[in-house]
């Protein structure tokens, strides 16, 4: 949790593996890196066992690049595919029992505030749709009602991917899966609406086929969670195994699904808009200069 942990200890430099040297010399710590610089710096994410071509992997990769201060960030995860990669990064990762991620993150974020005061330490939860909307549902909702200041990201592959294809609350009605052979009988849960009702200061949907948008959404969510309140991102991250998407068609599928039912949406509370504008110089929420006095509130 500081830049000191990405330095060489005196005399050890020549014994360190190449990946570590690359991280120290060409990593993102203490610098501002962006998606457009990808391929020119060493990313914090290392090799991991997630499936070839998995869109969730791409999303996690982009999210980690987008963290505003990776050296001051802790990720929290739970059972499910995502943790296989999230745990393999040069960012501390906390892993609890299935579904308790938002409870753990609540304690962690409060503890960090007691210990470090105003110095921002970001807590980011990344969990599957099953972990967030089914098993962890109660803890997720309560953390939002309590306005806990951390970011919750749902890696929504619309299935329990890690355990071979059971339906989740986020599976679409009618979807036939290996372990839901008759097709799902209920609608996909509207977690976005629930996040708003529970008082989240920022709620967005995103699909990884637009890397710059993923970056912008993650940055805003993490910054808002520092002071204003809970933030929620719901990302479509297809499971190419359970939905039998050929790996070279994963981005085509993302585009189709984005157009069909996962359009970009973003809700920003007025307080969060003001905070981003005043504290971090965001210009997009300022009243449009030429427009007749109609102000922004209706925009989101």
């Amino acid at each position: 949790m500081s830049l000191d942990y990405v330095k060489f200890s005196n005399g050890f430099e020549k014994f360190m593996p190449k990946e570590y040297r690359d991280m120290v010399e060409h990593g993102p710590f203490g610098k501002k890196v962006t998606v457009s610089q990808m391929g020119n710096f060493k990313e914090v994410l290392e090799e991991h066992p997630m499936c070839a071509g998995c869109a969730m992997t791409l999303f996690i990769r982009l999210a980690m690049i987008a963290f505003p201060n990776p050296e001051d960030t802790i990720t929290v995860g739970t059972a499910g595919c995502g943790r296989l990669a999230i745990s393999q990064a040069a960012i501390p990762f906390v892993y609890g029992n299935y579904g308790d991620q938002n409870g753990v993150a609540s304690g962690l974020s409060r503890g960090l505030r007691l210990r470090f005061g105003d110095k921002p330490k970001d807590v980011v939860v990344m969990a599957g749709d099953g972990g967030t909307a089914d098993i962890g549902f109660q803890q997720v909702l309560h953390s939002w009602f309590r306005k806990e200041r951390f970011t919750t990201i749902m890696l929504d592959n619309e299935v329990y991917g890690n355990t071979g294809g059971q339906e989740s609350g986020m599976t679409n009605r009618g979807a036939v899966l290996k372990m839901a052979p008759l097709g799902k009988k209920f609608e996909k849960m509207d977690m976005l609406q629930m996040a708003k009702v529970a008082g989240c200061a920022y709620v967005a949907t995103v699909v990884p086929n637009n890397p710059r948008r993923v970056e912008s959404v993650i940055k805003k969510a993490v910054l808002i969670a520092r002071e204003v309140g809970s933030t929620y991102i719901q990302a479509y991250t297809s499971c190419n195994i359970e939905y039998a998407i050929p790996t070279d068609k994963v981005m085509e599928d993302a585009k189709t699904v984005e157009n069909d039912r996962y359009q970009f949406t973003e809700y920003v509370s007025d307080e969060a808009k003001q905070y981003l504008t005043e504290r971090y110089g965001y210009k997009e929420f300022l009243p449009k200069p030429a427009a007749p006095a109609a102000a922004i509130p209706g925009k989101a």
Binding site: G39, N40, E43, L58, R61, M64, N209, P211, K249, M251
Partner: protein, 107 residues
């Protein structure tokens, strides 16, 4: 044997849009060199693949063919690559691998 992505420097360097780098699901796998290609007289640098990290999904091929419309990436059997293309020989500090790539050592 298995397939890995291979970027044809001559075709990539004519466009060099960096899209594949942003869409590969694996971190630190499609890298970008400002110099590669320039030493052959091309205007831009080129993307290249750290093949020991590549999982062979071919998403980059789709991106280069359909989004970049440049057809610069092909899947090839790992044993058809010059040994020097393995990541061991590529450090982030010295990205111009063109010289080593010129001498295949597979056999």
């Amino acid at each position: 044997m298995y397939l890995v992505a291979d970027i044809i420097v001559e075709i990539c360097a004519a466009k060099s849009c960096k899209l594949c780098t942003q869409y590969c699901p694996e971190a630190n796998t499609i890298l970008y060199s400002e110099e590669m290609g320039k030493d052959q007289g091309f205007k831009y640098g080129s993307a290249y693949v750290a093949v020991d990290r590549c999982k062979g999904c071919a998403q980059c091929v789709w991106v280069c063919d359909n989004m970049a419309k440049n057809n610069a990436i092909k899947m090839i059997m790992i044993d058809q690559l010059p040994k020097a293309a393995l990541t061991d020989n590529i450090t982030y500090g010295e990205k111009s691998t063109t010289a080593v790539l010129a001498s295949p050592v597979v056999g």
